[in-house]
Structures are given as C-alpha cells and as structure tokens.
C-alpha cells in the first residue's frame, strides 16, 4: 500500500514539474508585457503551494493545524496579488494584497485567542 502511494506521488510530481517547465500559464489578454513566461511559471508554483496548504486544512488532526494552514494560505494569496500586479500591469491588485494582509492578521489573532480558551480582553 505504501508503494502505491509513493508511486502516485511520484507520478503527480513529474506531471507538475513537466507542466511548469514545458507550458507556462498563458496570459491571453496582455500579450505584450515583459517577463510573461516567468510570471506564468511563478503562478503555477504559488497555486501548487496553495494546494499543499488546502491539504493541511482538510487533513489536520487538531484545530491549531487548520488555523496555521489558513494563515499561510492568506499569505500565499498576498504573494499572488503581488505577482498579478506585474504580470497584468493593473496597479490595484496590490491594494487587494494589503487589505488581505490586514484582515488576515486580525482574524488569525482572534482565532488564536479563542483557541486559548479565554476572553478577548486579557
């Protein structure tokens, strides 16, 4: 059974690496901006990291694991917004990143105080 799981993991890893190297994510609407191939591969890597975080949210044994994974998922989305700012040339994507960082800080702090089992005004 363990050999089958290792085999499935190796096949998935090979497929993802081949996809990243051979065919970067196409930007159909902005074909004339610079560095588009690098940005397409960067978006594939960040989406892969987000999928790993979602696996930890789905499978986490305790609640604290899920809270950590949601925190890192928000940080990944801030990085994705920063890359979209360059690759599309639209300047308001970084505003979405700032708002996501602020909201994530407040919500994760509240969740950790709830995990501690006390009130919010300690």
């Amino acid at each position: 059974m363990k050999i089958v799981r290792w085999f499935i993991g190796a096949v998935a890893l090979t497929a993802v690496v081949t996809l990243i190297i051979v065919r970067p994510m196409p930007f159909l609407f902005y074909p004339d901006l610079p560095h588009l191939e690098f940005m397409g591969r960067a978006m594939y890597i960040i989406i892969l990291a987000c999928l790993l975080c979602l696996y930890r949210v789905w499978k986490g044994p305790t609640g604290a694991d899920r809270i950590v994974a949601v925190d890192i998922l928000g940080i990944m989305i801030v990085g994705l917004c920063a890359i979209l700012t360059i690759s599309t040339g639209r300047m308001w994507y970084i505003d979405i990143g700032i708002a996501w960082a602020l909201q994530g800080f407040i919500s994760i702090l509240a969740l950790s105080k709830y995990l501690e089992g006390k009130g919010f005004d300690e």
């Binding site: 610079p34 560095h35 690098f38 960067a42 890597i45 960040i46 892969l48 990291a49 987000c50 790993l52 975080c53 696996y55 930890r56 305790t62 609640g63 604290a64 694991d65 809270i67 950590v68 994974a69 925190d71 890192i72 940080i75 990944m76 801030v78 990085g79 920063a82 890359i83 700012t85 360059i86 300047m91 970084i94 505003d95 990143g97 700032i98 960082a101 602020l102 800080f105 994760i108 702090l109 950790s112 105080k113 709830y114 995990l115 501690e116 089992g117």
Partner: protein, 111 residues
Amino acid sequence: MNSTLGLIFIGIGLFFDLLGCLGLVRLPDIYNRLQAATKCVTAGTCSILFGVFLMMGFTAAGMKSLLCMSFLLLTAPVLAHALSRGAHRAGVKLWQGSVVDQYAEDREGEA
C-alpha cells in the same frame, strides 16, 4: 538592471514559499509546522514584495508593496507567538520524539 534584480528576488521568494508549504505538509507536529510556516512568511512573501518594489520603482504600486512588506515583517512574529501559546494552552500534545518542554515546566512552577 533593476528588473533583473527583481526577478532574482521573486525567484528566491517562490523557492521559500514552496519549501515552507512542503514543510507544512511533511513535518510531524504543530510547533514544527509553525516554524516552517513562519519561514514561509518572512523569507518568501516579503522577498516577493521586495522584488515587486525593485521592478516597479518609486511609483504608487512600488511604495504600496514596500508598505505591505513592512507590515508583514511586523506582524508575522506576533501571529506565530500567539498561535503557539494558544495551542500549548489548549493542550495540543508535542511530538513523542521531542526532548524538552520548558513552558510546561514553568507553568507547573507557577501553579
């Protein structure tokens, strides 16, 4: 020149992001996972934002990315400390291969 430096910083950030999330999946314990995850914030996403600042220069988007980077650098240790303290007080067990737990010893001394 600035564009090449920005691409190098973005590449470093992507590398640390991917390794941090791999550690989030593979490590055995909540505290070990938190350590890997905080590396992913500080070295990964802050490096990506600094690369965006280098590529954009002193425009509005570049200054906003620098602001977001300083905010993340200030708040990531606060979040890690609050989460580990909350998990320890909620009674999450350490990994069975752990060597020392000095916070539990301190709390026994207080009580």
